[in-house]
Symmetry: C2
Subunit: 273 residues, 2 copies
């Protein structure tokens, strides 16, 4: 093998995607079915900028469910995640049927971390690292409201360790979302600068994969297509058209898939040759 | 929306992939873990051409497990599938922990159909059509030994109805494999003609998606990349090099993903506009 590292990779994919303009409206039906099979309340994490928005109204939050708004100015901290979990335990919130993360990378990562902690116990920093999460987290659904972070597709959730100051994720197959709803109508109201700069995040995810040391065919394939979609969007006359917002949403997802499948982000072991 | 049909799609992805040369060796470990969590024997379906091969030895088949060789000259028939299921019941074979399909499209499709019938009951032809499978099939793992069919990634298993002569699949989210092992070393011994003609199948899967009426961004993305990989393979000087066999395996998988995500193969409903 001349150009590719061919270590054996174990890849955990997002199991289900719901895609299309207006697809957020599918969420209540999905949650209802989930509750029938796995009774319990739903725990929603939503970006604080969504407070009072139509998107929140569409979530159809029931009286037993809980909605927590997430401040997205900074990435999650280990203390912040621990405080959320402690708060849930203190109020007697039972094990949820499902956790929903609706927002950007910070919100989606917060939901991932809490989902792992609710089933694994302990403190957030105990799981910062490689495959330290022992059992599957609570079943979880991502609803990205901005494109580019790739958090909807990756197997990590980045947190700043409050004690050490280091940024490190819970890198685990159990961190990957079970279901992602990709509704491009949710990014129509994102400020143009933020839309662009976050979108570029996904461009660089794909670039990093293609420039990385642990490449493989599937990671390269996701990354190449992520770049193609980004270029179509950013080189067009209207990067926020309906079509382009859908393209950038898929570019973000593919960029996340590229990271999750190609880099050390997903290997179980390497056989270097 | 000018160029793309934007119906809402519900996509069931393969949840896990194990990828890389020699990755078949991971299977016994995966099956052991599966058996620990879900006790029961393993039911293997293998292409008859693998009889006596090293690949069969690597499966590490236990005394309680069962191996059925599949004649791959023709696609599965409904009567053939029913006969397999009746045979399993007649010999008192208990519900398997896992079903493994190792071979080409016929073998992988046979495993899919039997997995659905063992949990849903009834006859194969009752499930030929759209979303007629009621409950998840037995957990199943695909090991393609030839690239191109895409059966490792699609939500259908094609069967000829013995009574009517019509070819029709069990088109269902429950038909999709849970885990796919993509080991390019398994295609090293495929006759060159067969390697090419089956590989071209995947080229046309991607072509069909891009020429189809029910396109969307994600299906197009998988298809474009499937075509790129096919072209790299077929236009090279050695289409069966180690790298190219890995590329064609991913092209086959992406071709299957393209069909499963873009066409009517995965829609839950359409909102035409």
């Amino acid at each position: 093998m001349t150009i590719l590292d061919t270590g054996i990779k174990n890849i955990r994919n997002v199991s289900r995607c719901t895609l299309g303009e207006g697809s957020l409206a599918e969420l209540p039906r999905l949650l209802l079915r989930r509750k029938q099979e796995h009774p319990g309340p739903v725990l929603f994490f939503a970006d604080q900028f969504l407070e009072g928005s139509d998107s929140i109204k569409k979530l159809n939050i029931g009286p037993a469910d809980k909605l927590i708004f997430v401040a997205s100015a900074h990435e999650p901290s280990t203390d912040g995640i621990d405080a959320i979990v402690a708060g849930l335990h203190a109020t007697g919130f039972q094990k949820p049927s499902c956790i929903v993360g609706i927002g950007g990378g910070t919100t989606m990562d917060t939901a991932k971390a809490v989902a792992n902690l609710l089933t694994n116990g302990g403190k957030a920093e105990e799981y910062q690292g490689w495959d330290l999460v022992k059992v599957p987290g609570v079943y979880k659904i991502a609803v990205p409201t901005i494109s580019g972070t790739g958090a909807e597709a990756t197997r990590t959730c980045v947190m700043t360790n409050t004690r050490t100051g280091l940024k490190l994720g819970m890198n685990s197959d159990f961190t990957t979302y079970d279901h992602v709803i990709m509704d491009p109508s949710l990014t129509a109201t994102v400020p143009k600068n933020q839309y662009f700069y976050t979108g570029v995040d996904s461009y660089f995810h794909s670039m990093e994969v293609l420039a990385g040391s642990y490449r493989n065919v599937i990671g390269d394939a996701f990354a190449r297509e992520g770049l193609t979609l980004c270029r179509e969007v950013f080189l067009s006359n209207d990067m926020m058209s309906d079509d382009n917002r859908e393209r950038l949403m898929i570019a973000s997802y593919f960029g996340g898939c590229a990271i999750a499948t190609s880099s050390t982000g997903s290997c179980i072991h390497f056989r270097r040759g």
